[in-house]
Subunit: 257 residues, 2 copies
């Protein structure tokens, strides 16, 4: 595999820092190639501005349009094109972060805001003029896995836990971003109890991470529905005969039958 | 009312910029006081670092602990304490942004990462040692409303729309951040079709915004369950007799019965 590992913790001596180094080492020991974007170490700028697109001063900025023009002209900011090169090279992406306010740290959210631009990660159409997204698109064929640490206990991030189910909290990233761009998303790895971890628990989580990384090539992705797979009507609403009693995130997983 | 209005769009001449100015004007015309944090105009830094906490160089950074110590010592970075002053002053918070990758732009996510720190927005306990969060806490008594624009059509952000239901996409912000800190959350205002808006549609959305702002003091908040209201067990899992067939975000709304 060719793996791009995204990391987003400010402290290298943290649990996240340790797991990041263990994970990269584990993949390399298995003979995989690894490139990294350790966003804090890179001092990555997460804020979308007109400078991303070499946008003319004084002209009104329409982000999607400016992005597509910049991709076409090859005038995106160099730190964005550097990430595009890594993404294009990779067949697998690991997205590792501590869960801050039930989402990604801003430095990582902004990586997606700035790197997953129109014309690169989406905004592609087929010969029939259909937009290719949610299961198809520019990044189709790649796989991704989220590795996320949280202070909370595991059950409190489960189906009836107070914090919400982890896959629901990650829906904007796993479904709305990765799958939107065509990337298959493997089930996430949750490193729970992250703020009170002893040696034995740490060893448990390192083992779990190594196992997941070893199984990466064979792990079944989350069964999200495809936009152009016939499940949605022209308004992009799930057809009434499919999972008729479901609403919310659960409706967007394929079911057997 | 004393309203803090958070805005997060890079272009003042955008739909978001226009709605921001209309909204502030509308509140002031009604006699309310308004303070603003227009994050792009402020060039707000959204990235948590050791500098936020005047943290000793060379010492391992544990974010939650460093934050609590900095709050206690009064040594948080000045741009954070300036936001704390506005928040403490306000009784109502408007959180306005364009939906980017089904969440907040990084500059706004990082506002919560940096401003909603332990010791200020959470990490408060009652006399019995119970943590006050999800409906109680340091910011209890305040109200908030999300105003969000999206290119998508309204139904595609509805209960069975492909993008996921808006309230599910906003769950990490509305439930996991605002309600976590004790803030009552009013139903969000969605400004849909934002990337192809004509004059008539713009007028429709301005009217809708003005109506919502006029009704703010009387609008019923989303009926999220309280952590210490008896609905959750000691592991913070919803008791089995409550909404027994529900999992996911839907389980965390109170139901009549």
């Amino acid at each position: 595999m060719k793996v791009l590992w995204l990391a987003a913790h400010p402290e290298p001596r943290s649990l996240n820092g340790s797991l990041y180094r263990e994970g990269v080492r584990s993949l390399e020991e298995q003979g995989h190639e690894v490139r990294t974007s350790d966003l804090y170490a890179m001092n990555f700028n997460p804020v979308v501005t007109a400078d991303d697109f070499t946008h003319a001063d004084g002209e009104r900025l329409i982000v999607g349009r400016a992005a597509q023009e910049a991709v076409r002209r090859g005038s995106l900011a160099p730190d964005i094109t550097a990430e595009h090169a890594k993404l294009s090279w990779a067949d697998t992406v690991i997205v590792q972060f501590p869960l801050w306010w039930y989402g990604m740290p801003a430095i990582l959210k902004g990586w997606f805001d700035r790197v997953f631009v129109a014309g690169f990660a989406f905004g592609i159409h087929d010969a029939q003029g259909r937009q290719l997204r949610y299961g198809e698109g520019a990044l189709a064929g790649k796989r991704a896995m989220v590795v996320v640490s949280a202070g909370a206990r595991e059950v409190s991030l489960g189906p009836r836990g107070i914090n919400g189910d982890l896959n629901d909290l990650l829906f904007p990233l796993q479904h709305g971003t990765l799958w939107y761009a065509g990337i298959d998303v493997l089930p996430p790895l949750l490193v729970h109890g992250a703020d009170r971890m002893d040696e034995a628990t740490y060893a448990f989580h390192v083992d779990a991470l190594r196992e997941r990384l070893k199984d990466l090539p064979h792990t079944e992705p989350l069964p999200f529905r495809r936009q152009n797979g016939g499940d949605y009507d022209d308004d992009l609403v799930l057809r009434p005969e499919l999972s008729p009693h479901l609403t919310g995130t659960a409706a967007h997983y394929r079911t057997e039958s």
